[in-house]
Amino acid sequence: MGGFLSETFLAALLFGAITAAIPLLLAGLGEQMSEKAGVLNIGIEGMMIAGAYAGFLGAYYSGSFWLGFATGAAAGILVAALMALLCVRLGLNQIVIGIALTLGLEGLTALLHHFQFSRSYPRLPAAQVTPIPLLAEIPVFGPALFRHHLIVYLAVAAVFAMIWVYRRTQLGLNLQAAGDKPAALDVAGIDVVRTRTAAVLFTGGMAGLGGAYLANVGAGLFIPFITNGAGFLGIVLAMLARGRPLWVLAGALIFGGCLSLTTAAQVAGINVPTDVIQMVPFLAVMAMLVLFGRRASLPAALGIPYERGAR
């Protein structure tokens, strides 16, 4: 029983890939919304770590994963509110503020963890999974894909919800206009600052949720710097996807899959340093950029604050 290529093992690998992909997916979807509306949200790593910390705190003290997700998302939104105030309302440089927020929150959560948990390292129980009837019984894929916490299905559903929002709703048009030609949106009677603020807050919520998932479901605990660059990967995914949520999903799965691949290779006894294997997703993305790069154009007003009446 057991061993390489066993059903359980393959299922665990796939399961692991999904678990690793979900935070990237959430962050990427969030970042995509900001970028669509013209805000380059470099602070997403900070929003994620805030979400991871607050999410863990919420789940740990309340005993409820759902409350944890709620507090995580709320923390992300709180950070995003600061970013929206500074970058959208006041028009401060998005890169400066984004990096500053990331630095500050990584430091702050590490500090808080130090004083709060560094003697006890509390952990959460395993997350409750919701098997999808019938599908969950399929060998390998059932346990890997259809036995997850409900939030995972919701995250995937969010992809389709966002496709719908972008393609079919007035809000989608507004976001697109806010990123491509904010003045046109403004004179059409829609408040650009409000639209962008909403987008940034959404990013914060998604990033916070991603952080909370990472801490509560992915790791089951919070430790400093736990996000480990996931937010920056989210930025890359969002930029590559250029407004298409499905591409974010695909990208997140590729990254998650590559992580599992490194484990598979090791368990199979293939003697390749992990550094080399872990370059694979990045190499794949670079290759995609080289081949299809022409299409990776970005919203015209990305990164440029909007000020009414300015010329």
């Binding site: 057991g2 061993g3 665990a12 692991g16 560094s118 992915g218 490194t262 484990t263």
Partner: protein, 321 residues
């Protein structure tokens, strides 16, 4: 010479139930025993620590313990510059009389014991090694563990997995990889990592073996009993206090820098943690093996290179087939 204070520099905070905490605690204990002051500089990271060393030297420390292999280049340089003795790790050839001593530590003997223990206790006859990265001290213990398993029962399979480069804080990665290793059939996990080892613990606690059984965890360096009582099979516990005490003594005797320091089973500076999970008969067998190692009847050599460790793992797995 007169020894007034010792200073210890660690890359992370001394609250990790592991390498950093062990260093800080031992330095404090050794200083207290010698009746001198201990200066603690923790959480310095893996970047440039020369500023901190220079400053501590200028503040009058009698000895600087650079408690990270990453500090082994800078510390001797600062020693030469400031004339303050330093102790470094992972650089056995770097001795310099009165100035630089090495205390390359290896728990490989203890890890060997842990391997014997794991092979005895594994029901699935399959154990896993999960590490956050591949620094020398992790490698020698991984190798020691594998050798112990193999010596106990060549039929026990070993699965070896590295979370990723610089994955010290990747708790989610630790959990994910450990779950995969458990799914591959392992029911005992020998885990080494800083923050990520809590992710491994989490995986062990929340994942069952294929037949619904319990998975157990063997830790290294520290004693995590207080945070993981029910799933902790054992730990290769280090105690560096004797090493630091010996350094202080050598400084007083002006023999610092003439010898290396090591830890081992003999003086209990490396020992296997006894937990409630270990049956008494197994424990006494382990104790016998310990005696044999101390007596030299069983030889355990440290292996530091990552590639050598990997080869060993492949070999071990191949043997198991």
């Amino acid at each position: 010479a007169d020894v007034k204070s010792i200073a210890i520099l660690t890359p992370e905070e001394g609250t990790d139930f592991g390498w950093n905490q062990q260093g800080v605690d031992a330095a404090k204990a050794a200083a207290e025993a010698a009746g001198i002051e201990a200066i603690v500089a923790s959480g310095l990271g893996y970047g440039d620590v020369r500023p901190a060393m220079r400053e501590i030297a200028a503040d009058g420390a009698s000895l600087i313990i650079a408690h990270a292999s990453g500090y082994a280049t800078s510390a001797p340089e600062i020693a030469a510059e400031t004339n303050v003795p330093v102790a470094i790790v992972d650089s056995p050839q770097a001795l310099k009389e009165g100035l630089v001593a090495d205390y390359t530590l290896s728990g490989h003997q203890g890890a060997y014991l842990a391997g014997r223990l794991a092979a005895k206790m594994s029901k699935s006859k399959h154990v896993g090694i999960v590490v956050s990265g591949e620094p020398p001290s992790w490698n020698s213990q991984s190798a020691g563990f594998a050798e112990g398993v193999k010596a106990e029962n060549p039929d026990v399979k070993i699965t070896y997995a590295v979370i990723g480069p610089a994955a010290y804080s990747d708790a989610a990665g630790g959990r994910r990889v450990t779950e995969s290793v458990i799914a591959a059939g392992a029911d005992i996990i020998f885990g080494q990592g800083n923050g990520s080892s809590f992710g491994m613990l989490q995986a062990v606690e929340t994942t069952k073996t294929a037949d619904g059984g319990k998975v157990l965890f063997i830790d290294v360096i520290g004693d995590k009993t207080s945070v993981a009582k029910d799933f902790l099979l054992s730990s290769v516990v280090w105690d560096i206090t004797p090493v630091y005490s010996a350094m202080i003594q050598d400084l007083k005797d002006d023999t610092f820098g003439t010898k290396r320091y090591a830890i081992g089973l003999a003086d209990d500076s490396v020992k296997l943690l006894k937990t409630d999970q270990i049956p008494d008969d197994v424990w006494s067998e382990i104790q016998k093996i310990r005696e044999q190692i101390i007596a030299g009847d069983i030889k355990v050599e440290p292996t530091f290179e990552a590639s050598a460790v990997r080869t060993l793992m492949t070999d071990v797995s191949a043997d198991a087939k």
